[in-house]
Protein backbone atom coordinates (compact mmCIF):
# COMPACT_ATOMS: atom_id res chain seq x y z
CA UNK A 1 0.00 0.00 0.00
CA UNK A 2 0.99 3.61 -0.56
CA UNK A 3 0.31 6.61 1.59
CA UNK A 4 1.54 10.19 1.36
CA UNK A 5 1.02 12.89 3.95
CA UNK A 6 2.25 16.42 4.61
CA UNK A 7 4.49 17.01 7.60
CA UNK A 8 7.39 19.23 8.67
CA UNK A 9 6.91 21.48 5.67
CA UNK A 10 7.38 18.64 3.21
CA UNK A 11 5.72 15.39 2.18
CA UNK A 12 6.20 11.89 3.58
CA UNK A 13 5.81 8.91 1.22
CA UNK A 14 5.15 5.51 2.71
CA UNK A 15 5.42 2.42 0.49
CA UNK A 16 4.57 -0.81 2.27
CA UNK A 17 4.76 -4.29 0.77
CA UNK A 18 1.39 -5.33 2.16
CA UNK A 19 -1.71 -3.92 3.81
CA UNK A 20 -1.44 -2.52 7.35
CA UNK A 21 -4.14 -1.38 9.77
CA UNK A 22 -5.22 2.27 9.50
CA UNK A 23 -4.29 2.70 13.16
CA UNK A 24 -0.64 1.99 12.33
CA UNK A 25 -0.61 4.65 9.61
CA UNK A 26 -2.18 7.06 12.09
CA UNK A 27 0.51 6.20 14.65
CA UNK A 28 3.21 6.95 12.05
CA UNK A 29 1.66 10.31 11.24
CA UNK A 30 1.53 11.06 14.96
CA UNK A 31 5.26 10.35 15.36
CA UNK A 32 5.95 13.18 12.93
CA UNK A 33 3.24 15.46 14.33
CA UNK A 34 4.62 15.08 17.88
CA UNK A 35 8.18 15.96 16.89
CA UNK A 36 6.92 18.85 14.77
CA UNK A 37 4.86 20.27 17.66
CA UNK A 38 7.91 20.22 19.92
CA UNK A 39 10.71 21.24 17.54
CA UNK A 40 9.22 23.40 14.78
CA UNK A 41 10.46 26.99 14.61
CA UNK A 42 7.46 27.75 12.39
CA UNK A 43 5.11 27.22 15.36
CA UNK A 44 5.26 29.97 17.95
CA UNK A 45 3.90 27.57 20.60
CA UNK A 46 6.71 25.01 20.25
CA UNK A 47 9.37 24.72 22.98
CA UNK A 48 12.06 25.37 20.36
CA UNK A 49 10.41 28.68 19.40
CA UNK A 50 10.19 29.58 23.09
CA UNK A 51 13.89 28.81 23.54
CA UNK A 52 14.69 30.79 20.40
CA UNK A 53 13.07 33.99 21.60
CA UNK A 54 14.14 33.67 25.22
CA UNK A 55 10.82 32.66 26.79
CA UNK A 56 12.19 29.26 27.85
CA UNK A 57 15.59 28.32 29.22
CA UNK A 58 17.11 25.26 27.60
CA UNK A 59 17.65 23.70 31.01
CA UNK A 60 13.89 23.99 31.70
CA UNK A 61 12.94 22.48 28.33
CA UNK A 62 11.14 19.11 28.01
CA UNK A 63 13.43 16.08 28.41
CA UNK A 64 13.12 15.16 24.73
CA UNK A 65 14.32 18.61 23.64
CA UNK A 66 17.40 18.30 25.83
CA UNK A 67 18.03 14.78 24.56
CA UNK A 68 17.78 15.88 20.93
CA UNK A 69 20.04 18.86 21.60
CA UNK A 70 22.60 16.41 22.97
CA UNK A 71 22.23 14.25 19.87
CA UNK A 72 22.74 17.26 17.59
CA UNK A 73 25.80 18.34 19.59
CA UNK A 74 27.16 14.82 19.27
CA UNK A 75 26.88 15.12 15.48
CA UNK A 76 28.54 18.53 15.67
CA UNK A 77 31.48 16.79 17.36
CA UNK A 78 31.51 13.76 15.07
CA UNK A 79 31.60 16.01 11.98
CA UNK A 80 34.32 18.19 13.54
CA UNK A 81 31.91 21.09 13.62
CA UNK A 82 30.60 20.95 10.05
CA UNK A 83 27.13 19.92 11.17
CA UNK A 84 25.72 22.48 13.56
CA UNK A 85 22.44 22.81 15.49
CA UNK A 86 23.03 26.54 15.87
CA UNK A 87 21.96 28.98 13.21
CA UNK A 88 24.42 31.75 12.35
CA UNK A 89 22.22 34.14 14.37
CA UNK A 90 22.60 31.89 17.41
CA UNK A 91 19.09 30.45 17.43
CA UNK A 92 18.93 26.77 18.33
CA UNK A 93 17.49 24.90 15.33
CA UNK A 94 17.20 21.12 15.61
CA UNK A 95 15.35 20.66 12.31
CA UNK A 96 18.60 19.33 10.83
CA UNK A 97 18.28 16.13 12.86
CA UNK A 98 14.62 15.99 13.94
CA UNK A 99 13.19 14.96 10.58
CA UNK A 100 15.62 12.02 10.44
CA UNK A 101 14.99 11.12 14.08
CA UNK A 102 11.24 11.01 13.35
CA UNK A 103 11.86 8.83 10.27
CA UNK A 104 13.95 6.47 12.40
CA UNK A 105 11.22 6.22 15.06
CA UNK A 106 8.52 5.64 12.42
CA UNK A 107 10.58 2.95 10.69
CA UNK A 108 11.08 1.18 14.02
CA UNK A 109 7.36 1.38 14.74
CA UNK A 110 6.44 -0.04 11.31
CA UNK A 111 9.06 -2.78 11.43
CA UNK A 112 8.01 -3.90 14.90
CA UNK A 113 4.45 -4.24 13.54
CA UNK A 114 5.77 -6.53 10.82
CA UNK A 115 5.79 -3.94 8.05
CA UNK A 116 8.34 -3.84 5.24
CA UNK A 117 9.01 -1.32 2.51
CA UNK A 118 10.25 2.27 2.38
CA UNK A 119 9.60 5.54 4.15
CA UNK A 120 10.74 8.71 2.40
CA UNK A 121 10.37 12.21 3.80
CA UNK A 122 11.53 15.23 1.86
CA UNK A 123 14.32 13.38 0.09
CA UNK A 124 15.46 11.18 3.00
CA UNK A 125 14.64 7.50 2.56
CA UNK A 126 14.87 4.63 5.06
CA UNK A 127 14.14 0.94 4.55
CA UNK A 128 11.55 -0.75 6.74
CA UNK A 129 12.28 -4.39 7.47
CA UNK A 130 14.92 -6.36 5.59
CA UNK A 131 14.01 -6.00 1.91
CA UNK A 132 16.34 -4.67 -0.80
CA UNK A 133 15.20 -1.51 -2.55
CA UNK A 134 16.51 0.54 -5.45
CA UNK A 135 16.60 4.29 -4.80
CA UNK A 136 16.95 7.08 -7.33
CA UNK A 137 19.25 10.00 -6.53
CA UNK A 138 17.99 13.26 -8.00
CA UNK A 139 20.32 15.11 -10.35
CA UNK A 140 20.68 18.59 -8.77
CA UNK A 141 21.29 20.08 -12.21
CA UNK A 142 18.02 18.66 -13.56
CA UNK A 143 15.62 17.55 -10.84
CA UNK A 144 13.49 15.52 -13.24
CA UNK A 145 16.35 13.12 -13.77
CA UNK A 146 17.93 10.35 -11.77
CA UNK A 147 21.69 10.64 -11.35
CA UNK A 148 22.36 7.33 -9.64
CA UNK A 149 20.32 4.33 -8.51
CA UNK A 150 21.99 2.71 -5.50
CA UNK A 151 20.36 -0.19 -3.71
CA UNK A 152 19.50 -0.11 -0.01
CA UNK A 153 21.00 -3.42 0.98
CA UNK A 154 23.49 -3.56 3.84
CA UNK A 155 23.10 0.20 4.30
CA UNK A 156 19.50 0.87 5.33
CA UNK A 157 19.15 4.61 4.82
CA UNK A 158 19.96 7.32 2.30
CA UNK A 159 19.86 11.09 2.63
CA UNK A 160 20.70 13.94 0.30
CA UNK A 161 21.64 17.52 1.11
CA UNK A 162 22.00 20.24 -1.44
CA UNK A 163 23.11 23.82 -1.63
CA UNK A 164 20.60 24.72 -4.34
CA UNK A 165 17.09 23.95 -3.11
CA UNK A 166 17.01 25.82 0.19
CA UNK A 167 19.71 28.43 0.28
CA UNK A 168 19.43 28.71 4.03
CA UNK A 169 19.49 24.98 4.73
CA UNK A 170 23.24 24.56 5.00
CA UNK A 171 25.28 26.95 7.10
CA UNK A 172 28.94 26.93 6.41
CA UNK A 173 31.78 28.86 7.93
CA UNK A 174 33.26 28.78 4.43
CA UNK A 175 30.46 30.96 3.12
CA UNK A 176 29.40 29.45 -0.16
CA UNK A 177 30.07 25.77 -0.51
CA UNK A 178 31.40 24.33 -3.77
CA UNK A 179 29.31 21.16 -3.40
CA UNK A 180 25.97 21.15 -5.21
CA UNK A 181 24.71 17.99 -3.58
CA UNK A 182 25.87 15.20 -1.31
CA UNK A 183 24.07 11.88 -0.94
CA UNK A 184 25.00 9.54 1.89
CA UNK A 185 24.25 5.86 2.44
CA UNK A 186 24.46 4.82 6.09
CA UNK A 187 23.20 2.21 8.52
CA UNK A 188 20.62 4.65 9.88
CA UNK A 189 18.85 7.74 8.59
CA UNK A 190 20.13 10.15 11.28
CA UNK A 191 23.73 9.36 10.34
CA UNK A 192 22.97 9.67 6.63
CA UNK A 193 21.23 13.02 7.07
CA UNK A 194 23.78 14.62 9.41
CA UNK A 195 26.75 13.51 7.31
CA UNK A 196 25.17 14.65 4.03
CA UNK A 197 24.64 18.10 5.55
CA UNK A 198 28.17 18.17 6.95
CA UNK A 199 29.71 17.22 3.59
CA UNK A 200 27.99 20.11 1.81
CA UNK A 201 29.08 22.51 4.56
CA UNK A 202 32.65 21.22 4.51
CA UNK A 203 33.01 21.58 0.74
CA UNK A 204 35.35 19.56 -1.43
CA UNK A 205 38.39 20.83 0.47
CA UNK A 206 37.39 19.35 3.82
CA UNK A 207 34.90 16.54 3.20
CA UNK A 208 37.66 13.94 2.77
CA UNK A 209 38.61 14.09 6.44
CA UNK A 210 34.96 13.70 7.40
CA UNK A 211 34.44 10.67 5.20
CA UNK A 212 37.61 8.99 6.42
CA UNK A 213 36.28 9.06 9.97
CA UNK A 214 32.69 7.92 9.36
CA UNK A 215 31.11 4.58 8.37
CA UNK A 216 29.20 5.86 5.33
CA UNK A 217 29.28 5.83 1.54
CA UNK A 218 28.79 9.08 -0.35
CA UNK A 219 28.12 10.41 -3.83
CA UNK A 220 29.03 14.07 -4.29
CA UNK A 221 28.11 16.46 -7.10
CA UNK A 222 30.25 19.56 -7.46
CA UNK A 223 31.06 21.87 -10.34
CA UNK A 224 33.89 19.46 -11.19
CA UNK A 225 31.47 16.57 -11.69
CA UNK A 226 30.76 13.44 -9.72
CA UNK A 227 32.85 11.82 -7.03
CA UNK A 228 32.14 8.83 -4.83
CA UNK A 229 33.67 6.96 -1.92
CA UNK A 230 35.09 3.48 -2.66
CA UNK A 231 32.04 1.78 -1.15
CA UNK A 232 29.39 3.67 -3.14
CA UNK A 233 27.55 1.05 -5.26
CA UNK A 234 29.08 0.72 -8.75
CA UNK A 235 27.31 -0.63 -11.79
CA UNK A 236 28.58 -4.12 -12.60
CA UNK A 237 30.55 -4.00 -15.84
Amino acid sequence: MRHAFETMGTVASLHLDGPVPASLIEAVENVFADYDAEFSLYRSDSPLSAIGDGRLRLTDAPARVIREYERALDWNRRTTGWFSPHRPDGVLDLSGTIKAVAIGDAVELLASAGGSGLLGVGGDVAAIGTGIHRIGVVDPRDRGRVLADPVLDARRAIATSGSAERGDHIWSSLGRTDILQATVLADDIVTADAVATAIVAAGTAHCGDLLDALPVDALIVSAEGLSATPGWPRVAS
Binding site: R2, A4, E6, T10, V11, S13, H15, K99, L118, G120, G122, G123, D124, V125, H133, R134, I135, G136, V137, V138, D139, P140, D142, R143, G144, R145, V146, L147, A148, D149, I158, T160, S161, G162, E165, R166, H169, Q181, C207, G208, D209, L211, D212, L214, V216, L219, I220, E224, G225, L226, S227, A228, T229, P230, G231, W232, P233, R234, V235, A236
Partner: protein
Protein backbone atom coordinates in the same frame (compact mmCIF):
# COMPACT_ATOMS: atom_id res chain seq x y z
CA UNK B 1 4.91 7.37 -17.46
CA UNK B 2 6.66 10.70 -17.75
CA UNK B 3 8.95 9.66 -14.92
CA UNK B 4 9.98 6.62 -16.89
CA UNK B 5 10.80 8.79 -19.90
CA UNK B 6 12.96 11.24 -17.97
CA UNK B 7 14.79 8.49 -16.15
CA UNK B 8 15.70 7.01 -19.52
CA UNK B 9 16.98 10.42 -20.59
CA UNK B 10 19.45 10.40 -17.74
CA UNK B 11 21.52 7.83 -19.59
CA UNK B 12 22.12 10.42 -22.29
CA UNK B 13 23.22 13.05 -19.81
CA UNK B 14 25.43 10.41 -18.25
CA UNK B 15 27.22 9.94 -21.55
CA UNK B 16 27.75 13.68 -21.87
CA UNK B 17 29.10 13.81 -18.36
CA UNK B 18 31.46 10.98 -19.13
CA UNK B 19 32.92 12.89 -22.06
CA UNK B 20 33.34 15.87 -19.78
CA UNK B 21 35.30 13.76 -17.37
CA UNK B 22 37.57 12.38 -20.02
CA UNK B 23 38.22 15.89 -21.34
CA UNK B 24 39.10 17.13 -17.90
CA UNK B 25 40.55 13.90 -16.62
CA UNK B 26 43.33 14.08 -14.09
CA UNK B 27 46.76 13.10 -15.29
CA UNK B 28 48.17 9.83 -13.97
CA UNK B 29 50.70 11.77 -11.89
CA UNK B 30 47.88 13.67 -10.21
CA UNK B 31 46.15 10.38 -9.48
CA UNK B 32 49.15 8.98 -7.67
CA UNK B 33 49.42 12.22 -5.74
CA UNK B 34 45.88 11.64 -4.57
CA UNK B 35 46.90 8.23 -3.32
CA UNK B 36 49.80 9.75 -1.44
CA UNK B 37 47.58 12.23 0.31
CA UNK B 38 44.58 9.97 0.39
CA UNK B 39 44.63 9.31 4.10
CA UNK B 40 45.66 11.34 7.04
CA UNK B 41 47.98 8.60 8.09
CA UNK B 42 49.69 8.15 4.71
CA UNK B 43 51.32 11.51 5.33
CA UNK B 44 53.20 9.97 8.17
CA UNK B 45 54.08 6.93 6.11
CA UNK B 46 55.60 9.08 3.37
CA UNK B 47 57.48 10.86 6.12
CA UNK B 48 58.96 7.61 7.25
CA UNK B 49 59.68 6.73 3.63
CA UNK B 50 61.99 9.74 3.37
CA UNK B 51 63.47 8.69 6.67
CA UNK B 52 64.39 5.36 5.20
CA UNK B 53 66.07 7.25 2.35
CA UNK B 54 68.64 8.53 4.75
CA UNK B 55 69.33 5.20 6.41
CA UNK B 56 69.24 2.93 3.36
CA UNK B 57 71.25 5.20 1.08
CA UNK B 58 74.08 5.76 3.50
CA UNK B 59 76.46 4.61 0.77
CA UNK B 60 75.63 7.66 -1.31
CA UNK B 61 75.82 9.86 1.72
CA UNK B 62 77.43 12.84 0.09
CA UNK B 63 74.72 13.09 -2.54
CA UNK B 64 71.88 12.69 -0.11
CA UNK B 65 73.38 15.05 2.44
CA UNK B 66 73.33 17.78 -0.19
CA UNK B 67 69.59 17.39 -0.58
CA UNK B 68 68.98 16.35 2.98
CA UNK B 69 67.18 19.42 4.16
CA UNK B 70 64.93 19.72 1.15
CA UNK B 71 64.18 16.02 1.18
CA UNK B 72 62.84 16.18 4.70
CA UNK B 73 60.87 19.35 4.12
CA UNK B 74 59.19 18.10 0.99
CA UNK B 75 60.08 14.70 -0.34
CA UNK B 76 57.31 14.88 -2.93
CA UNK B 77 58.49 18.07 -4.58
CA UNK B 78 60.00 17.40 -7.96
CA UNK B 79 62.39 20.34 -7.84
CA UNK B 80 64.20 19.20 -4.69
CA UNK B 81 66.12 16.62 -6.70
CA UNK B 82 65.28 13.65 -4.49
CA UNK B 83 67.48 10.67 -5.15
CA UNK B 84 66.02 8.20 -7.62
CA UNK B 85 64.96 4.87 -6.27
CA UNK B 86 62.17 2.95 -4.64
CA UNK B 87 61.46 3.60 -0.99
CA UNK B 88 59.24 1.64 1.32
CA UNK B 89 57.63 3.37 4.25
CA UNK B 90 57.08 1.76 7.60
CA UNK B 91 53.76 0.07 8.25
CA UNK B 92 51.15 2.42 9.66
CA UNK B 93 48.10 1.34 11.59
CA UNK B 94 44.87 2.94 10.33
CA UNK B 95 41.18 2.55 10.96
CA UNK B 96 41.08 0.25 7.94
CA UNK B 97 43.99 -1.93 9.00
CA UNK B 98 47.75 -1.83 8.53
CA UNK B 99 48.99 0.09 5.52
CA UNK B 100 52.46 0.25 4.01
CA UNK B 101 53.30 2.33 0.97
CA UNK B 102 56.13 2.11 -1.57
CA UNK B 103 57.18 5.23 -3.48
CA UNK B 104 59.22 5.26 -6.66
CA UNK B 105 61.19 8.42 -7.45
CA UNK B 106 62.58 8.91 -10.93
CA UNK B 107 64.16 12.09 -12.29
CA UNK B 108 63.46 13.78 -8.97
CA UNK B 109 59.70 13.20 -9.17
CA UNK B 110 57.40 10.59 -7.70
CA UNK B 111 56.48 8.28 -10.56
CA UNK B 112 54.66 5.58 -8.68
CA UNK B 113 53.00 4.98 -5.34
CA UNK B 114 52.10 1.42 -4.49
CA UNK B 115 50.43 0.00 -1.45
CA UNK B 116 52.61 -2.96 -0.54
CA UNK B 117 50.67 -3.93 2.53
CA UNK B 118 46.94 -3.49 2.78
CA UNK B 119 45.30 -5.88 5.16
CA UNK B 120 42.84 -5.65 7.93
CA UNK B 121 43.14 -7.70 11.07
CA UNK B 122 41.53 -10.69 9.33
CA UNK B 123 44.23 -10.59 6.67
CA UNK B 124 41.78 -9.54 3.98
CA UNK B 125 42.47 -6.82 1.46
CA UNK B 126 40.95 -3.49 2.48
CA UNK B 127 40.45 0.01 1.18
CA UNK B 128 42.90 2.55 2.58
CA UNK B 129 40.66 5.59 2.41
CA UNK B 130 37.00 6.48 2.44
CA UNK B 131 37.51 9.69 0.50
CA UNK B 132 35.43 10.49 -2.55
CA UNK B 133 37.26 10.21 -5.86
CA UNK B 134 36.09 11.27 -9.34
CA UNK B 135 33.76 8.75 -10.91
CA UNK B 136 32.11 8.41 -14.31
CA UNK B 137 28.38 9.05 -14.41
CA UNK B 138 27.68 5.66 -15.99
CA UNK B 139 29.40 3.90 -13.09
CA UNK B 140 26.61 4.88 -10.68
CA UNK B 141 23.54 4.65 -12.93
CA UNK B 142 22.43 1.13 -13.79
CA UNK B 143 20.17 -0.23 -16.50
CA UNK B 144 17.56 -0.74 -13.77
CA UNK B 145 17.33 2.99 -12.99
CA UNK B 146 13.79 3.17 -14.40
CA UNK B 147 12.74 0.82 -11.60
CA UNK B 148 13.69 3.02 -8.64
CA UNK B 149 11.17 2.69 -5.83
CA UNK B 150 11.79 5.99 -4.11
CA UNK B 151 13.83 9.12 -4.68
CA UNK B 152 16.48 10.80 -2.56
CA UNK B 153 17.13 14.46 -3.17
CA UNK B 154 17.66 17.72 -1.35
CA UNK B 155 14.69 18.58 0.86
CA UNK B 156 11.73 19.81 -1.11
CA UNK B 157 8.86 21.91 0.19
CA UNK B 158 5.28 20.65 0.14
CA UNK B 159 4.68 22.75 -2.94
CA UNK B 160 7.79 21.51 -4.74
CA UNK B 161 6.82 17.92 -3.97
CA UNK B 162 4.01 18.15 -6.51
CA UNK B 163 6.57 18.75 -9.26
CA UNK B 164 9.06 16.23 -7.93
CA UNK B 165 10.10 12.85 -9.22
CA UNK B 166 8.94 11.33 -5.92
CA UNK B 167 5.44 12.65 -6.52
CA UNK B 168 5.42 11.05 -9.96
CA UNK B 169 6.52 7.74 -8.45
CA UNK B 170 3.90 7.91 -5.68
CA UNK B 171 1.15 8.49 -8.24
CA UNK B 172 2.41 6.12 -10.90
CA UNK B 173 2.31 3.23 -8.46
CA UNK B 174 5.48 1.46 -9.58
Amino acid sequence: MSARATVGGAVVSGAILALGWIAGAAMPAATTATVATGTGTSGSSSGSASGSTGSSSSGSGSASSGTGSSATSGSTTATTGATDGTYTGSSVSTRFGDVQVQVTISGGAITDVTAVHLTDHDGKSVQISNRAAPILAQEVLSAQSANVQMVSGATYTSRAYLESLQSALDQAGF
